[in-house]
Amino acid sequence: MLGYIARRLLLMIPTLLGITFLVFMLLAMAPGGIGAALRAAGGSVDADSKASLQLLYIEDRYGLDDPAVVQYGRWLARISPLKFGERSMRNYAGDLEEPPRDVKAMPMGPGWFAGSYELPQDLEATAADRNRTQADDETSARSAAVDAALAATAAREDEGLSVGDDPGAIPEYKDANKAYLRARAQYLMAVRGFASSISRYASADTLRLRKIEVDALVAGGVDPKIAERQATVTTESPFNAAVSGNNIVDYDLLQTIKPVTSLTEAWNTVVTGYGELAVAHAEAEAALLRVRTAYERGPYPLAGVGILGFANFDWPDFGKSFTIGRPVLDLITEALPVTLLLNVAAVPIIYLVAVPFGMHAAARHNKLFDKVSGSIFVIFWSIPVVWAGVLAIGFLADKQYLGLFPVSGLHSNNADEMAFLPGWDAAGFQAGYLLDTLWHMVLPVFCLVYGGWAVLAKQTRAAMLDTYTMDFVRTARAKGVSDHDVKWYHVFRNSLLPVITIFVLVFPAMLAGSVVVERIFSIPGMGSLILAAIFNLDRDVILANVFMIAVLNLLALLLADILYAAADPRVTFD
């Protein structure tokens, strides 16, 4: 049996890879790709803005310019508990501090400019100059910040509190890291600026070539209008081949084309853009040097447990929601209890209603009760949850009609001020927190259970009917065992097995059902979280949720099989 479980657990891995890959690729098919929402926001932002930092975060995490498969690989490496390469650190707030990432290489060297146009010779010097003055400025600012932190540490030491081995390491690292992030964001913007200057240059070149073509045609006696149309169709700058939409430039291809320098204005933009790029790159490199030194001082303890020096075990890193800006795991741990509360209330209700009805229907097979309960359950089964929810809210909760139940949410506005249990005070009966919550749960839970009634009652009835045709039941009847005893001791016990194992399958199904129910009743559970994430294409939240639900589901399936075999000796693990 252990072997069976181990095999099933191993087989879960390809399934999990498959499901996350499927969802990842679906998200990558969204118009504009994965970071579309952010890119749109970052279209015209300066390097200091929050959006550009967020864009940087996403770039770091996924490398948005890479193909989707590579991005998926990166995501996998993050959630894998076994990690290779340089170890990250974990700061005292529990967040990961990763080793500083290298600055991306310049998209192309200055060689392209050589021959046809000389870059200003002092470009590198300017960069170094700018860097030096800026570094001087920053050194003074930085040392002020570090000094303040050191003073604070000294104060702690005076009070007899413990300080680390290297008290200056943390403020220095924080400061350096911040500066590095900024420098990289600036570099990122410079890369985009250069790309767009190239694309503008390509369109200018196209216009130039078309003009030449038109002139040649007109000189050959062609009507100017026709010549223009023809040129529009036939003539295309060779640079256009290197530029695709959204300012993505194929630099390898670009290097092979000789630049045309007669387009002064566009060309100047390109040169300036390249200068900006070189400066930003040099700055980012300098900042990297500083942050690397700061990181190697070891401001925080290493994360995870190392194995043999080349790998380490650590918790999976599910990332942050970019719309809310909080770690995904926090969001899930907040939302999950709400959904669990609904489901924990719903499952017993399903069983308490469906099992007795199913049993009774089987005992009265083809009698009136069987037929009526069967049709009622088919009707329940056919009611779409959205309709049931809308009707329940409209007629039962809306003040316009009965107004018996609350319309939305899980608690009243003043729930925090309530006592937990109901009671009486000066103003009369007070519902209390518990009753208030239960009262809010009535309609959502009803929407969750009625479909389950039909499924479970049908299963119970079928299982009971199956057992009723068995030989041992006939024997028992022939012996003269009473109907009651046959039903309870012979049939019910033997049909209980499938009913028990269904429990494991009901739960994941209800998790899906709660997506709609939570939306209708505005309950802040898993369903609402997932829906909001999907509408915003918040990739980390969607993937983490999919991963978690898939694990939950697969474990439930495994548990169902084990329970089945454990409960029924006729079933073996082979």
Binding site: L11, V23, P31, S382, V390, L391, I534
Partner: protein
């Protein structure tokens, strides 16, 4: 097999039985199951309901349309100039093909003919499939050429080339499916269907857009004489006067209600502006949110306790008196305006405004707002006259007598018309997406069951992938990132829900693969596809086909849920979309928006579920044994 109901009640002897008295011809498996199913009440309900939905799916554009069936243009002196049928002009290629196919197919199926009905059904289905594929292919090509190559698209022959090209491709790929003997007949029938489809598609290349409103205006000013269909509203036809009207409202009533609503809104606006802009420094008037709310209640006369509450809050008798006066004047204003005495109404409004003016406002801005609201209140008198005049004018015309049988939605579109037009989406989503899912399921399931071993292991992981995550999640993710149109929606639902049928087929094939006939197939060296789909599949497909009925129901629910969440196809009426408009933009619950579309979804799902249950019972040998 003896028929369950012998023709006569007379006892028959063994000799009679041997002679064949009371015996009937044995029927093939499906025909037998069908005859059993048709006898049941539930199944009859299901079939009738699906037939009704199918009828509307075909005829909705003709039955519910804001364009006139027949429009005659009149000259100034009432002489008919020329006539046309705007409905016919506005039909899309799909509409026309469905109408032609629906009518011809029904005739072919219902007429008594020598050829068996089963075969004729096969012919109709194949013709539908061919035409459908051509239409889908053409739509895809149109989508490809949507942005680029303006020169090609502008070319006159482009529609014909694309239509007939697509038709030829479909014909060459699928002519073998036509259930006739001989290649020539197959090709001829297929070509006939494809040419008709291609011709209609190229004729209606761009869907015509004609506004129903121009015909309404023509009718009203007497330049046209229009004959309308049963439900004279297009699903997209909207009007500000028709927002959220109850069922069985006529157009004239809708206009009249607009006049009343404007008046009520004006008064309410005035009261609110006054109550929330009074000075908080005023002697004897402690102003905070609650007092302001109570003033609103007092002036509107909605809460009789508001007066005592205001007195308790310490509002001086002076102010109470003023508020009472304003209230009475407003009441007089309302009464006189409804009685049609404009002069008295204006006077009452003016005196109400004057009384308010005597109270100090919070600041200059607040004072301006109060003055504006007062001017508006006085202006409402003239406005009201205009509205009533317009309503009376409309009421005199035939347009005013038009009914909204099931009310309108919050954007002013007729609910019944939208529901009829949504039938097509419901029927096609159910059938096509289930067809896709069964097809994928059969192919993958049969490979798993026939080969076993590592093929089974690998494909089982694929099945597990789709089982590991609730189908609804995948649907929502896919629907939110992919283009929102009906075809994509069908494909998404089909590609996500195939695991059930794959598992059924796998189980059946595992049982079948060791049977003698499969062994002999292998022994004589039949190709794989022949063994799998020609010999094994007919023996193992029964549970999948029964399950397909539940699959259709599930697909309809999935579509409704997605549409409710706002992820449904664009530009297409849908029951789920209507359901999502229930609480409108104002947050008021519109019961007719919840009840009718919801009931349509429910009844359709119920019909398929009941049909599936009955089919399962009819062919389940165990149940049959228990029943006897």
């Amino acid at each position: 097999m003896t028929s369950p109901k012998p023709d006569s009640q007379k006892t028959i002897s063994g000799i009679d039985v041997m002679r064949g008295v009371g015996a009937s011809k044995a029927k093939p498996f499906w025909a037998d199951a069908w005859s059993r199913v048709v006898e049941r009440r539930g199944a009859q309900f299901g079939l009738v309901w699906i037939a009704i939905i199918g009828f509307f799916a075909i005829f909705a554009p003709v039955l519910a349309n804001g364009l006139p069936l027949w429009s005659v243009e009149l000259s100034a002196d009432g002489e008919p100039l020329r006539a046309s049928s705007p409905i016919y002009d506005s039909l899309t290629a799909t509409d026309i093909l469905l109408l032609v196919g629906g009518i011809l197919g029904t005739i072919l199926l219902l007429l008594p003919m020598a050829v068996s009905r089963q075969k004729r059904l096969g012919v109709v289905c194949v013709a539908g499939m061919l035409a459908g594929l051509v239409v889908i292919l053409i739509a895809f090509v149109q989508y490809l050429f949507d942005g680029a190559g303006q020169d090609i698209v502008a070319w006159d022959l482009f529609p014909y080339v694309v239509s007939f090209g697509c038709g030829a491709i479909v014909l060459l790929l699928l002519f073998w499916a036509v259930p006739f003997e001989g290649i020539v007949r197959k090709l001829l029938f297929g070509a006939a269907v494809v040419v008709l489809t291609s011709f209609v598609c190229s004729d209606r290349w761009v869907s015509p857009t004609v506004s129903p409103d121009s015909f309404v205006r023509g009718q009203i000013d007497g330049s046209q004489r229009n004959t309308y269909t049963l439900v004279p509203w297009s699903p997209t036809q909207s009007n500000a006067a028709f927002f959220s009207r109850r069922p069985v409202t006529t157009v004239a009533e809708a206009y009249r209600t607009v006049a009343d609503e404007q008046l009520q809104d004006g008064i309410a606006f005035f009261i609110r502006t006054v109550a929330f802009n009074l000075s908080p420094r005023l002697e004897g008037l402690p102003l905070d949110g609650e007092v302001s709310a109570d003033i609103v209640e007092l002036l509107a006369g909605t809460d009789p306790d508001a007066l005592t509450r205001l007195v308790d809050a310490g509002v001086s008798a002076d102010y109470i008196g003023r508020f009472e006066r304003v209230k009475n004047e407003l009441a007089a204003y309302l009464v006189s305006i409804e009685a049609g005495e404009e002069a008295r109404a204006s006077e009452a409004a003016k005196s109400a405004v004057d009384t308010v003016d005597a109270i100090e406002a919070a600041n200059r801005n607040a004072r301006l707002m109060i003055v504006d609201a007062g001017q508006e209140l006085i202006g409402k008198v003239d406005e009201r006259v205009g509205f009533v005049k317009a309503a009376n004018e409309v009421a005199e015309r035939s347009f005013g007598g038009r009914d909204f049988h099931l009310g309108t939605d919050p954007i002013g579109r007729d609910v019944l018309s939208q529901m009829l037009h949504a039938c097509r989406l419901s029927i096609s989503i159910g059938l096509v997406s289930t067809g896709i899912s069964v097809l994928i399921g059969i192919v993958i399931g049969s490979l798993m069951g026939y080969f076993g071993g590592w093929v089974d292991l690998v494909l089982s992981r694929v099945v597990e992938i789709f089982m590991a995550i609730p189908v609804l999640f995948l649907l929502i993710v896919a629907a939110s990132v992919l283009p929102r149109n009906t075809y994509v929606m069908m494909a998404i639902i089909g590609c996500v829900t195939w695991t059930g049928s794959a598992r059924f087929i796998r189980a059946e094939f595992l049982k079948l693969r060791n049977q003698d006939f499969v062994q002999s197939c292998r022994a004589v060296g039949l190709p794989l596809h022949s063994t799998l789909f020609r010999h094994m599949l007919p023996n193992g497909i029964t549970p999948v086909l029964v399950q397909a009925s539940f699959g259709i129901a599930a697909a309809i629910i999935a579509e409704a849920t997605l549409s409710y969440l706002g992820l449904g196809p664009y530009g297409q009426s849908s029951w789920g979309k209507l359901l999502s408009l229930t609480t409108g933009e104002t947050g008021v619950f519109l019961w007719w928006m919840a009840v009718f579309p919801g009931a349509a979804i429910f009844l359709t799902v119920l019909a398929y579920n009941v049909l599936g249950e009955n089919f399962r019972d009819a062919i389940d040998p165990k149940m049959r044994k228990a029943a006897h």
